[in-house]
């Protein structure tokens, strides 16, 4: 689904129209330029939408397959994934910039990383799995 290189090489800086097109694509799942223009919510020229989609593809946010003379575009990330990637990337840049000694900034970074709910859920699952594994081993030992 997501390649590590694409995640960590990604630095999405989206303009308002790019954001709008991306949101439309999330709604549709996948679409061609014509399909995006069909419902009349986007009031830009065909070529503008085509260029924007092409730019989003180059930024690594979309996948595309050719369909006749056009392309069908699919978002590479869900909105949640994109938010996570952007946050991680910002934090990584922040940390790599050489933050000075014992600053409140380090606490912000720590707090952000600590309270990443999804990460905590994943770690919680790992802990529970290990508990089960240990209890399983204990039962086997008791039986033997």
């Amino acid at each position: 689904m997501m390649k590590a290189s694409s995640i960590f090489g990604l630095r999405p800086r989206l303009g308002p129209f790019e954001q709008q097109v991306l949101e439309k694509l999330w709604k549709h799942g996948s679409a061609t330029v014509r399909e995006l223009l069909a419902d009349g919510e986007i009031h830009q020229a065909y070529t503008t939408v085509m260029t924007t989609l092409s730019r989003l593809y180059k930024k690594g946010l979309l996948d595309r397959v050719s369909e006749g003379k056009a392309f069908r575009y699919t978002p590479r990330h869900t909105p949640e994934e994109l938010q996570r990637v952007t946050t991680l990337d910002s934090l990584r840049q922040l940390l790599e910039s050489g933050v000075p000694s014992s600053l409140p900034l380090s606490h912000v970074v720590e707090a952000l990383s600590i309270h990443d709910a999804r990460l905590l859920d994943e770690l919680q699952l790992l802990v529970e799995r290990k508990y089960r594994e240990l209890h399983g081993q204990k039962k086997i030992r008791e039986k033997s």
């Binding site: 000694s101 014992s102 380090s106 309270h115 770690l123 290990k130 240990l134």
Partner: protein, 311 residues
């Protein structure tokens, strides 16, 4: 005038050496990644590196610069005072700033801890009277605070959230920080200010957390309990920031700590070499002997270098 010049020259040498060594440590520490070494040793090495500039500068100043000036500097000689005075003032400013940082850290810690300790009472779950729990919301879940009279503060939320085993192992982790005098080490860091040392301090902090994890855990069950406590307490959001002289339980890279604990095994712990303090003793004795034997020439060399630097 001779005494004033001596003080200025000594302070100048101190500040020059301190800055040079600090810059060297800052540039050179990161490639030093000892593999298969116990985390306690990693923490000790990083602490030694962080404090090395100050320690060496003080020793060199008092053991070499001051005696070389007293013995070898002609009293009648008239030399320019501008450079030594300027550098001396820099040194005094550095010392004043260091003292200010230490006092500020200690004061803010005391103030915050006093507030957190209001209405607390000893934790019944622990036999150690140093351990108290507090009911104030917003304080960190489990924290070791204080330097001379350290205490482990445990919030009511923590007691409610953790099982008996998890709480015990979490307390053991904090007591390991206490045994290692980690809060004192943090205060010492305040006394060695130098720009760009944040990464080294952060690496020390991470190593100290891992070392406390290692010391607290003695079997797989303990390791999983500690990992579970870490994940549970990470969900509590402290409203107030932790003071400088404190070691919070939820600190460092959470993922690294949890994954490390879940893959804990006795064999890997024993494979890791522990660098003990007495490993350094032969080198220290050899260096001291060398200096003692060649003290005269070393003093002469120091005097020459001092003259060259502060002309």
């Amino acid at each position: 005038m001779f005494a004033l010049r001596g003080i200025a020259v000594s302070l100048s040498c101190f500040v020059l050496l301190y800055c040079l060594l600090s810059a060297l440590v800052e540039a050179a520490w990161s490639p030093l990644k000892p593999l298969q070494v116990a985390q306690r040793s990693v923490a000790a090495i990083l602490f030694a590196l962080r404090t090395l500039p100050l320690l060496v500068s003080v020793i060199v100043t008092f053991a070499l610069v001051v005696p070389s000036f007293r013995l070898l500097e002609p009293r009648s000689k008239q030399e320019g005072m501008a450079m030594p005075l300027a550098l001396g003032v820099c040194a005094l400013l550095l010392i004043a700033y260091s003292c200010f940082r230490v006092i500020a850290a200690q004061t803010s810690t005391t103030r915050l801890v006093t507030r957190w300790l209001e209405g607390t009472h000893p934790l019944k779950a622990s036999a150690d009277s140093a351990i108290t729990f507090h009911s104030r919301r917003g304080a960190p879940p489990i924290t070791l605070v204080g330097v001379l009279n350290p205490r482990v503060l445990v919030s009511e939320d923590t007691i409610a959230l953790l099982s008996h085993d998890e709480l015990n192992i979490a307390l053991k982790h904090e007591l390991e920080h206490m045994k290692a005098w980690d809060n004192l080490k943090k205060l010492i860091f305040c006394f060695c200010p130098f720009p760009g040392m944040a990464k080294l301090e952060s690496a020390w902090s991470q190593a100290a957390e891992l070392a406390a994890d290692d010391a607290a855990v003695s079997n797989q069950g303990d390791a999983v309990d500690l990992a579970a406590a870490l994940v549970k307490l990470s969900r509590l959001v402290p409203i107030e920031g932790a003071p400088v002289c404190s070691m919070g339980f939820v600190a460092g890279s959470l993922t690294q700590r949890v994954v490390r604990l879940l893959t804990w095994d006795e064999a890997s712990k024993e494979r890791r070499v522990r660098i003990r303090i007495w490993f350094v003793v032969p080198f220290a004795v050899a260096a001291s002997l060398l200096v003692a034997i060649a003290y005269g020439p070393v003093l002469a060399l120091t005097h020459e270098v001092t003259e060259f630097l502060i002309r």
